[in-house]
Amino acid sequence: MEITLRGLWTLIHGMGFGALYLLACSGAAVELFRLTSSATPTATPAQERFLRLYLLTMVVLAWFAVLTGAYIVYPWYRAVPPPGTADLAMFPQRLLLSSPATSGWHSLGMEWKEHVAWLAPISITMVAAVFLQYGHDLRQHRALRTAALTFTLASFLAAGIAGFFGAMINKHAPVDGGHVIQLSQGETR
């Protein structure tokens, strides 16, 4: 069992940061809604501290996801093959564009994903900053609370679009190659 260096970075970007961020979104929305709702009792300092830490972790995950995507994985994805290259397996963008059946994954999927993904870290950074400053007092600032919740959902939507297209693109034209890392030695039968 082995994985290439490019495959590993794609995994870290998509599954390590991106998927973990997506999983965290629902928790953030629910806790933010609950802790700042006027219908629930005042949050304890421990609950408030937990949500602060939770949101800060999401900020880190979101930024790591877009930065590893844009500066580590994306350059491998958009690499230009030398003239006359017949095997495009190492050039995912060109591989997708080489067939009408797959070109949409680049022209719609990657073109949207590469930009919309950045709305996630921007939005969640704002939400974290607002909660760090106001905490459960957001219940007294209804418009701020509504905006924070809306941006949390927008961040989830942006990350979801990026995650969906990332997974589909990697299914049709995986970013692969580079140093091979041996994970385990299998048996031959």
Binding site: A70, L108, H115, I122, A129, V130, H141, L144
Partner: protein, 115 residues
Amino acid sequence: MSASSQAASTASAARTNGSGAAAILSAGIGAFCIGLFAIAADKSPHIKALTNIYKPTGPLSGVTTVAIVLWLVSWLVLALLWRNRDVRLAPITTLAFVLLGLSFLLTFPPIADIF
């Protein structure tokens, strides 16, 4: 209610909304800038070349860097302007939502291709 919790309650009630509003509006501005510059770099060869600040990543590097810088600068400026102030939140959050909605639309290729 103890004296300390009464004081905390009074302080929270008196907390102004200016810095929160600054964070929200600037996030809308930052998001909108991503969509706007993505289209600009796609349509103008000159802007495309200018935004290609890290060749392996291409124009995406410049588009996102400039948008992030503008987001952070607008946040700083608005935070300085509105700190310790109560501002009218309805128009500010509405504008932030509109900018956020536009950012989703402008980054969507079929809509970006209209321009």
